[in-house]
């Protein structure tokens, strides 16, 4: 354990040619934290993670891993990171066991036994060639090697993508265990439910900028709540009750209300509508996502 944050992005900016993909991104992650990066495709999540492991060198700003500058001393930074890329193109002629051992062999404190146990728990055949495995199985190998690397920081790009629900639960449980042991987990994901269940904090990226970050529950509370209404007859927006901070979306018989008021107060205001059904979407990251990205996410 050090006095440094486990991961620190300090005003990172990066562009691919004329296209700016990261703009002044700053984020501190303390040891033992689990942080999820959320954003639509092209938001800059993978690029940000790659700046930690030396695959890209940011045009401006610095990324630090346990106090080590990831650009200036990339090797030392990478020794502290167990990294799982989103890409599952692997050395197809190797068996899953030999690939795992190869992947972790460069780390100072690899834990092959942990990796092999994980492969077994996730149902990956150890002696089968990688070429014979499905996309989901390859994802499990990539995950297992990142955990088995033994480094204090685990960085995962889309770790739950293509996993079945049982494997997803196992992966989440394993990451919680790792965080309990003091390891830091930073991952990108589109799986908002997973992020909500797992993360201490979430950061939302939009067009290369962090537009919101904080504890999942706080973010959901900030964004407000959603009520989905189904009406017996069609109404237009002018016929709907309006209050400060209320936003209506929808048409005819189906409307969604975004609000920040106590539920009783809202119900009192909408009581005169020809209600056929009403559903309260409890504050969730999905709502935050919808609010932040709107049409971007589609």
């Amino acid at each position: 354990m050090t006095a440094h944050p486990a991961v620190h992005f300090d005003q990172i900016s990066h562009a691919f040619g004329a296209q700016s993909v990261l703009r002044n991104v700053s984020l501190r992650i303390e040891p033992g934290e689990i942080v999820g990066l959320i954003g639509p495709n092209g938001a800059g999540k993978s690029t940000l993670l790659r700046s930690l492991i030396g695959i890209i060198r940011p045009d401006r700003g610095r990324a630090y891993v346990c106090g080590t500058d990831a650009a200036r001393d990339s090797l030392a930074a990478r020794r502290q990171i167990g990294y799982a890329p989103s890409e599952t193109a692997l050395y197809h002629q190797m068996s899953s066991e030999s690939l795992l051992k190869f992947a972790i062999a460069f780390h100072p404190h690899p834990a092959a036994d942990v990796g092999l146990e994980l492969l077994e728990a996730l149902g990956v055949p150890r002696h089968k060639r990688v070429s014979q495995l499905s996309h989901g199985m390859k994802r499990k190998i990539v995950f297992a090697q990142a955990v088995a690397s033994g480094g204090p920081v685990i960085v995962l790009d889309e770790p739950t993508e293509a996993l079945d629900p049982e494997a997803r639960r196992l992966v989440e449980a394993q990451l919680r265990d790792e965080a309990d042991r003091g390891r830091t987990v930073l991952f990108s994901s589109h799986d908002l439910t997973s992020v909500e269940r797992l993360c201490h904090r979430a950061a939302f990226l939009r067009r290369g900028e962090i537009v919101r970050s904080g504890a999942a529950a706080e973010l959901a509370a900030e964004t407000g709540r959603l009520l989905h209404l189904e009406l017996r007859t069609a109404v237009n927006e002018e016929q709907l009750p309006q209050q400060p901070g209320w936003q209506w979306q929808g048409h005819a018989e189906r409307w969604t209300l975004q609000h920040r008021d106590p539920l009783e107060k809202v119900l009192a205001h909408i009581a005169e509508l020809p209600l056929a059904g009403i559903r309260d979407a409890a504050g969730s990251l999905e709502e935050v996502f919808d609010t932040l990205y709107g049409e971007d996410a589609g």
Binding site: I55, P85, F106
Partner: protein
């Protein structure tokens, strides 16, 4: 380092064995053909249209088995099959990682790109030159079958000279592979350059500028006479090191 070397060597193993088997088979066939060739050399010389190849036959007529073996084993065998092996095995040394999208996985490991390149280049070099030494040494034992003998010292020196030449081609291939995103492209360029150089060797007047002029029969005749071309070998090695250095620099900056 050993993990990297093992992983890369495992991928080259069967190709290296195949390359050695072809080299050995061609060499044995050439040795066994020697008595017939020796008896028909004057007639063969008349049939060859290229001056450069006629000169090779003249050398064989004058000096016998050593130039014949040098042409068959080093000038023809090692350069032809060696180049094929280098193009086939070496073109993928880095370009394959881009081709198969494994670059991010490999280069996110805590190992420097320089180390990856050096270890792989060394393994590739061994895969290319060890068969040259092994088949040349085996020729020392096979030659008595046709009542000829090959001197150990000259055979080893000639193999070493050929190894230096191949090392230069290995380094050129490594550099091309680092610059390429497709293994096939790098391989085709290597083979193309070598074929052009061979075509150049067959054209009188510009033949002395061909790569093959540096490994022709006259060079091996000198080695057989005890004159090892130290300067030229040094140039091969220096060129190889310069190209490897350039490849390292390029790889360090390459974005995946």
């Amino acid at each position: 380092m050993m993990v990297l070397a093992r992983q890369y060597a495992r991928g080259l193993l069967w190709l290296t064995i195949g390359y050695f088997a072809i080299l050995e088979a061609a060499m044995v066939a050439a040795i066994l053909y020697w008595p017939k060739f020796r008896d028909n050399t004057p007639a063969l010389a008349k049939l060859i249209p290229f001056q450069a190849l006629q000169d090779l036959l003249t050398a064989v007529q004058q000096s016998g088995y050593w130039p014949y073996f040098a042409i068959q084993q080093w000038f023809k065998g090692c350069s032809l099959f060696g180049v094929a092996a280098i193009a086939f095995m070496g073109s993928g040394i880095i370009a394959r990682e881009a081709d198969q999208r494994t670059a991010e996985f490999l280069f996110s490991r805590p190992v420097s790109r320089r180390t990856v390149l050096r270890v792989r280049s060394l393994v590739l070099l061994l895969a290319v030159v060890l068969p040259v030494y092994l088949s040349s040494i085996s020729a020392i034992w096979i030659s008595p079958l046709v009542d000829e003998r090959l001197p150990w010292r000259a055979t080893l020196l000639a193999s070493t000279y050929m190894a230096c030449f191949l090392a230069m081609l290995v380094a050129a291939t490594v550099l091309l592979s680092v610059l390429s995103t497709h293994q096939l492209r790098a391989g085709v360029i290597v083979v193309g350059i070598v074929l052009l150089s061979f075509a150049q060797y067959l054209i009188q007047g510009i033949d002395q500028w061909s790569l093959f002029a540096t490994i022709d029969v006259w060079t091996f005749m000198k080695i057989g006479a005890g004159e090892f071309p130290l300067v030229r070998s040094g140039c091969f090695v220096a060129a190889a090191l310069a190209m490897l250095f350039a490849a390292e620099m390029r790889l360090e900056r390459r974005v995946w």
